[in-house]
Symmetry: C4
Subunit: 317 residues, 4 copies
Amino acid sequence: MSFIKRKLHQEDDLGFGNRPMGKDQRMMNANGSSNIKRIGLPFFRSSDTYNWLISMSWGKFLTVIVIAWLIVNILFAFVYVGVGIENLKGTDGVTPRDHFFDAFFFSAQTISTVGYGHISPSGFITSCIAAFESMLGLLAFALATGLLYGRFSRPNAKILYSKNMVVAPYKNTTALMFRLANFRNSQLIEIAVQLVFTYNEMVRGQKVRRFMPLELERSKIGLLSLSWTVVHPINEDSPLFGKTKEELMDAEVELIVLLQAFDDTFSQTVHSRASYLDESIIYDAKFAPVFYHDDNGLTTIDLSKLSEIEMVTSAQI
Amino acid sequence: MSFIKRKLHQEDDLGFGNRPMGKDQRMMNANGSSNIKRIGLPFFRSSDTYNWLISMSWGKFLTVIVIAWLIVNILFAFVYVGVGIENLKGTDGVTPRDHFFDAFFFSAQTISTVGYGHISPSGFITSCIAAFESMLGLLAFALATGLLYGRFSRPNAKILYSKNMVVAPYKNTTALMFRLANFRNSQLIEIAVQLVFTYNEMVRGQKVRRFMPLELERSKIGLLSLSWTVVHPINEDSPLFGKTKEELMDAEVELIVLLQAFDDTFSQTVHSRASYLDESIIYDAKFAPVFYHDDNGLTTIDLSKLSEIEMVTSAQI
Amino acid sequence: MSFIKRKLHQEDDLGFGNRPMGKDQRMMNANGSSNIKRIGLPFFRSSDTYNWLISMSWGKFLTVIVIAWLIVNILFAFVYVGVGIENLKGTDGVTPRDHFFDAFFFSAQTISTVGYGHISPSGFITSCIAAFESMLGLLAFALATGLLYGRFSRPNAKILYSKNMVVAPYKNTTALMFRLANFRNSQLIEIAVQLVFTYNEMVRGQKVRRFMPLELERSKIGLLSLSWTVVHPINEDSPLFGKTKEELMDAEVELIVLLQAFDDTFSQTVHSRASYLDESIIYDAKFAPVFYHDDNGLTTIDLSKLSEIEMVTSAQI
Amino acid sequence: MSFIKRKLHQEDDLGFGNRPMGKDQRMMNANGSSNIKRIGLPFFRSSDTYNWLISMSWGKFLTVIVIAWLIVNILFAFVYVGVGIENLKGTDGVTPRDHFFDAFFFSAQTISTVGYGHISPSGFITSCIAAFESMLGLLAFALATGLLYGRFSRPNAKILYSKNMVVAPYKNTTALMFRLANFRNSQLIEIAVQLVFTYNEMVRGQKVRRFMPLELERSKIGLLSLSWTVVHPINEDSPLFGKTKEELMDAEVELIVLLQAFDDTFSQTVHSRASYLDESIIYDAKFAPVFYHDDNGLTTIDLSKLSEIEMVTSAQI
C-alpha cells in the first residue's frame, strides 16, 4: 500500500530512521521533547551536568542546592568535631549534640563568608580547614551564581500551540490549520515554521516510517505580535487530499512542527517543536477569533482563547 | 478602491494580519515596540520575569532590588523577634521597637554576609534561621549579579532615526528618504534595512490592511561609521508614485523600518525597528549635511543634526 | 601518479596548504584538535589566558585556583608580618612561625571576606593592606566565578564517533560509512556533516597534499535523536572507487569529518571535528544495530554499541 | 580621469560615503578601528558605558575600579564621621584625622562584606547606613564581576596581519598578496575574507571616493591552522593591472580587509578588519616561509616571521 504517490526525497527524513510507529507510540512528545531512551553512557558526564541543572524545574533546582549545602555543612561539622571542638573558640556546648551543632553553624557561617566571629577557629588544623572551607564556599556560590543566571537568562522560545489542528474550508478547498502565539512578552522576529507529515507505509511487506514536508500557505512571518494561524492547503499535491480521518489513523500519522525565530530580548535564534497525533485533528472546524479592538481602539489578543474552535458546515466545499 | 496596481504577495504581510487601522492608530510605536495588548496569560510566568527585569528602566530596576531587600529583611526581623530577641546576643534594646531594629540590622548584616559579629545568633532555631538567611542572601545576590550583568551587557542595537522622512529630488525623479546612525560607539557591520509600506485598502466593501516592501536604492552597507540616508526612489514601480500627502493620509499609511546588523562589541546579530506615520513625511525637503572635516582633517559626524532638514524647491522635477 | 581523475577545486583545500604527509603523521588529531606547533608568539597573551583556562581539564583548573589562592595568601602573610604582626590584634603567637600562620589565616579570612574578627587589623598601614586585600579578594573570586561558569556553560558539541569507518555493501555498490551520536542529552538540530578526503599525490616529481570533499548520501538531518550513519556511496565518481586498502595507505589517506549543529540547550551553533586514518577503515563490515524497542515499546539507543561492527561477505556485489 | 573602466556597483560602497581622502588621511586605522570623530551625543549614555568599560585596556580598567572604590569609601567615611564617629563602636582615634580613617576602614570592611566586627555600627542612623552600604557593596562587586568576566570572555578575533602587502610573480602574471594568522590558540573555522580597493576619482571636476572589491584566488578556507596568504591575481580585470606604485599613490589608494570567522572556543562568529595604505605595498617581493617540519616531523609555524618578505626579480614576468 503506497499512501502517497509522490516520490519521497531522502532529505525529508528528520533523523528518526524508518522504524514504523505502533498504535500507542509517538515519535516526539506533544511538547516537542524527545521520547527516546538513551543507555550505554557513563553515569556521570560532566559535560551533561550543566544541561541537567539548567533544564530541571525551579523547585527541583533549589532543592538540589539546599541539599548540597546541608550535606557539605554536615561533612564539615563532623570534620571540625573530629579535629577537636575546643579549637572553635566561643562555643559553649556540653553534649556531643551541642558540639555538632556548634560546628555545623560555624561551618554555615564560614561557607557563606558571613563570619560573625562569635565562634572563631584556633589552632593550625582548624584554621586551615576554615580557610579552605571559606574558599570552597566562594567557589560553590560562584557556580550557583552562574547556574541561577544561566537558568534565568537561557534563550529559548516559549510558544503556545493550539491543542488541536483543524481542517476548515479554505478558498476553494479545505486546509489543515493550527495556531500559535508567543507565550512571552519578548518580540519574536522572522519566525519560520516547517510542518512535517510522518506516517507508516508498507514497503515490500514491511512497515516503514515515511516523512514528508507539507507545503504551507506561508512559512515565515516578520513579527509574531499576534497569533499566527499556520495553513496547509489540502490541494491535489497534499498527502491529505481525499483522506478520511480513519485512513490517517490507520497510517499512524503524526505531524511535527519545527519553529525557528529570532528573540529580540536575547538577540539569539531560538527553536521550538511540537507534535500533533492524527487523533488531535478536528474536521469541519475553524479557530475562533483571538484578537479584537478594545474600547480605546487598542488591538488586544486573548491568549487563553488560542485553542478555541468553532464548528463549520463543510457543505459549501 | 485599489490603492496599488501591483499584485501583492502574501509574504509581504509582517504578521499583523489584515485588520484596517483607524485614524489614531498605528501598527507599531514610533520606537519600534509593540502596541498590542496581551491578555489571557497567567499573571506570573517565570519565563517572562527575566524579560521584565531586563527590559525595565535602570531606576525602576534598582527600586525593585531595594524594595525586595527591605521586604526580606523586615520579614526576617519579625521572625527573629518572634523566635526570641534574647537569642541575638549583643543586642541591648529595651522597647519592642528597639528589638525590631536590632533584628532588622542583624538580618541585613546576615543577608549581605558582612556579619560584623557584634550581634550574633545563639540557640538552635535562631542559628538555623541565620544560617539559612546567609545562604539565601548569597543566592539572591547571585541572581542580582546576573541581572545587573545581563542588563548591562545585553546585545541590542541603539539606532538613531531621523524624526521625519523627506521626499526630495533624486536623479530624474524624487525619492523618499530617512536617515539613521549608530547611537553607540560600537562598530556595526553588515547593516541591512527593509522598508515596509502599509496602508488601508477597500476590498469588496471592507477595509483591509495591506503590506508592501519598498525597493531601496541600496538595502545593505558594510560598516555604519557615519550616518546612512536610506533612499526609496519614487519611480513608476513605487506605490508612492504620483500620490499626494492627502492620499497617503486617507489610506492611513504607516512605514515600518526593519534593521538588522552585526555588533562587533558583542559579536552578535542585533535588530532595530522604527515606524513613520504618513504625517511625519515632509515633501520638498532634504537632509542637512551631518559630517564635515574638522581643522585637523578628521572626519567628524554631528549626530545632533541627524534630523535636520533643508527645504528645496521641487521646480526642477 | 594521479590518484584521482577529477579536476580539483582550490576550494577543496581546508586551509592546511599542500605539504605532503609522512607515514606517522596526521593532519589533525583523531579528536579533531590541531596538531600544529605554534612558535614566535609572546609568552603571555592576555587574550589567550581565557582560552587556556576554559579549555584545561577540571582537575587542572581547580589546582590552578588553589595554588593561586595559596600564593596570594603567602605573599600577604609576609607583608603583614613585615609591617608588624602586632598590628593584627587578637593574635597570640610567639614564634616567627606562629606569626606567619596568624598572618596567613588572617589573610585567608580577609581575601574570602569571611572576616571572623577574632583577628582584626589596627594601625594605618595594616588596615590599608587589609582593605585592599578584601577588595582584591572580591575581584579575584569574581573572576573565578566567571571562569567556573564559562567552563560549565560553554556551548560545544560532544559528538561520539564510531572508532572505525566501514566499507559495506550498499544498494548496487559499496559505501564508506561511519556512525555518530550525541554524547549529551541536549537536542541537536539541523546537523550538517562534511567529509573531506585528503591524500598525497605526485605532481611533477614532488609530493603534494590534495583535498577532496566526498559526496554523502545525505549531508544534513533535522534532529539527532538517535545515531546517524553517514554514508558515502563508492560509485564511479568516488575517489575510493576500485581502490584497495593498500592503495589508500600508500597515498597516506586521511578522512576529515566537519560537523555543524544547533544546540537547543545553548541556542547556539556548535562544531565538531574528527579524523580517520586509512588504517581505521574496515572492509566488508557493517555497523551493528544500536537501537531497539524495549519492553514498553520505548525506542532505546545503546550508545556503548556505537562502534560495534559485524562482518559481511561481499560476495553479492 | 577615470581610474577604472569597469562599471561600479553602488553595493561596492562600504558605508563611508564618497568623500575623497587627502594625502595624510585614511578611511580606517591600520588595525581596523574607526577614525571618525562623533559629536552631538549626550555626554553620558548608559548604553555605551558597557562598551567603554569592555573595550579599555586592562590597566585602565583596574585603575577605574580602584578609584571608584576609593571615592565611594571616602564618601561613606565622611558620612559616618558626619553622623557621629561615636556610633562606630570599637574605634579609639582621637584626632579628626583618626576619626576619618577609622570611618574609612569601617566603610571598606563593610563594602567588601569582610566585616571583622572590631568596629561595629550602633545607633539607628549609622546602622542603616552600614546596612545600605553592604547592599551597595554587593551590587557594585556584582557589576565588577560581570565586567571582569565580560572583558575576559568577549568573543573577538585576534588576527595577525602582515605589515606589508607584496606584489609577487604569480602563475603567468603578478598578484597582490598579504598574509594573516590567528594570534590566539583557538580554532578558527570557515574564515572568509573580502578585500576592498578604495581610491579617489575625478568625477565632473570633483574628487569622489570609489570602492571596488578585489577578486581573490580564494576567499574562504575551512580551518585557519597555519597562516593564510590571501592572493589577488593582477590580471586584466584587476584595477591594479598595469598601474605603477606612483599611480596608486596619486589616487590615494587604501585597501581594506574584512574578515569573518567562527571561533570554536566561543562558538560565535567573530570579525576582524585591517587597512593597508598604498605606501605599504612592496613590489617584487614575496613572503618568506613561515612553517616547517621540526625534528619530530611536527608541523611548526613561526608567527614572528609572518611579515617577513624576500625580494624577487620580476624579470620572468
